[in-house]
Amino acid sequence: MHPTETAPPPVRLTEAAHRTEAPWVRGLLILLTLFLLVLILILPLVTVYYEAFKNGVRVYLDAIRHPDALAAVRLTLTVAAIAVPLNTLFGLAAAWAITKFRFRGKHVLVTLIDLPFAISPVISGLIFVLLFGAHGLFGPWLAAHGIRVIFALPGIVLATVFITVPFVARELIPVMQALGNQEEEAAASMGAGGWRIFWKVTLPNIKWGLLYGIILCNARAMGEFGAVSVVSGHIRGQTNTMPLHIEILYNEYQFTASFAVSSLLVLLALLTLAVKGVVEWQQRKAEANGGQSA
């Protein structure tokens, strides 16, 4: 973790007999684990693709190219394009404030950032209905000025931003904490300004963690269902995001079409996991290099 420390030789798990189980126990536990993970994680993935292509590629493509489906994709991309940059900027600012300085109330701040995680998505949506809905706190004022928030794009964006506030900050804080402040302090003592330190010192060190935070935030922004469901109003072709479109199709017994749109979001999830894999590989590599150069 600390590249400046003299690193001990990498500790390999000794597989000495007294530190591991009998081979048949090991085999049994591995098999049981693989069985459970296939059942819990892999089966749902395979099912999406099986159901989506059950009636042939043509039906699949028709479902994806349907105007309502395309409108849903467009809306989902728009919402993510607004929510993700906002929360990335926030995540960077919050992580800088929390990891570079010592101040009172840090734990409280970290807890506050986590708050949207603790609240049910449906309640997150409800919050904005109670504020901006027709009967909401600001409802009459908004109606008088002809502004629509609920059952329109602003409401969907607000709910999505709320839900995804913690993602980038949560990925960055542990990474920046582990890196420590020495490099930044060295740069500052040599007279570098704040932006220069951030761009030249901090950003190169945290880029992989930042990338994973952004992509995880993006996956959640595109996939959010409960909160968006409350504020969207389910107007086809207008306020339907991809997850809501999936729900409508499913409830209309258009299973193939529903799974076809789902398959796009599964692809996004798999891509997210792949990026995570690359990020962890890069971090391991960086740690190994740091250890050698010390």
């Binding site: 300085f101 109330g105 603790a118 049910s120 209905v129 996939g223 269902f225």
Partner: protein, 277 residues
């Protein structure tokens, strides 16, 4: 520069980053939450009590909390097994399996919901087998638990894994040299070390489970009094324009969420070095 609540630092940008953090957090999270609390004051105590103790609401709380408890307990067992196998053993495809654990974090809940429903319905692969055994999976409370097990699994695995990785091998070696068998070493030496992480994982999975909506609504069948979860009841009240009802049900859930968040943070501050600065 800043007052006595902050230590001096050579690094710049405290005012800007902290100011932006607090402003953004206030606008997006704190003011909206405060607004809801303000609105809930419009409810009298009696109205509030009548809503949250009505039979259908109580039944929904019971379904949500009960299912989340069962699922979190199942997750502790499965999560411990998975974390153990991933940390201690080597096998083909381990990296791949390890990466896949986070799938429930990345997969949209609605997709998980319709997929699990298809699998566990009578006509599905697993649902068919269970049905021939006389067990109804989808459209029963078992279905809700299944969905929550899927959603909660990574929480337990990812909190137990790092603790298991950092266990000092010497303690185990000492126990072995004193003649303790593997099971005895696990139950007396390793397991106690894992309890805080297991508790944290349990709390995280439970907290997520009581609020979960997308993966559950498809598989639960949504029968009032039986398989109707609290978040769905909020949704139904909203669709009926019963804002007072929705707010009251939500307030109780928010209170529960805040208690869980507090508990989880206490557990983490106590047992993890993550935020030790």
């Amino acid at each position: 520069m800043a007052g006595r609540w902050k230590d001096d630092s050579i690094l710049p940008g405290f005012g800007l980053s902290m100011g932006y953090t607090l402003l953004y957090l206030s606008l997006i999270v704190l003011f909206p939450l405060a607004g809801v609390l303000l609105r809930s004051l419009e409810l009298s105590w009696r109205e509030f009590w009548e809503i949250v103790t009505s039979p259908r609401v109580v039944a929904a709380y019971r379904v949500s909390i009960g299912s989340a408890l069962f699922a979190a307990m199942a997750n502790v067992c499965i999560g411990l097994l998975v974390a153990w196998v991933l940390v201690r053993y080597r096998f083909f495809g381990k990296r791949f399996v390890d990466g896949l654990i986070d799938l429930p974090f990345a997969l949209p809940t609605a997709v998980a919901g319709i997929s699990l429903t298809t699998i566990y319905a009578k006509t599905g692969i697993v649902g068919g087998i269970l049905d021939s055994l006389g067990i109804k999976a989808a459209f029963s409370q078992l279905g809700i638990v299944i969905a929550l097990v899927f959603i909660g699994l990574p929480f337990v695995v990812r909190t137990v894994q790092p603790v298991l990785q950092e266990l000092d091998p010497e303690v185990e070696e000492a126990a072995a040299s004193l003649g303790a068998g593997r099971w005895r070493i696990f139950s007396r030496v390793i397991f106690p070390e894992l309890v805080p992480a297991l508790l944290t994982g349990f709390a995280l999975a439970f907290a997520r489970g009581i609020g979960e909506y997308g993966s559950v609504v498809f598989i639960s069948g949504n029968m009032p009094m039986k398989t109707e979860i609290a978040p769905l009841l909020i949704m139904i009240r909203l669709e009926q324009y019963d804002y007072a009802g929705a707010t009251a049900i939500a307030l109780v859930m928010m209170l529960l969420s805040f208690v869980m968040l507090l508990l989880i943070n206490l557990l983490q501050w106590k047992f993890s070095r993550r935020f030790q600065v």
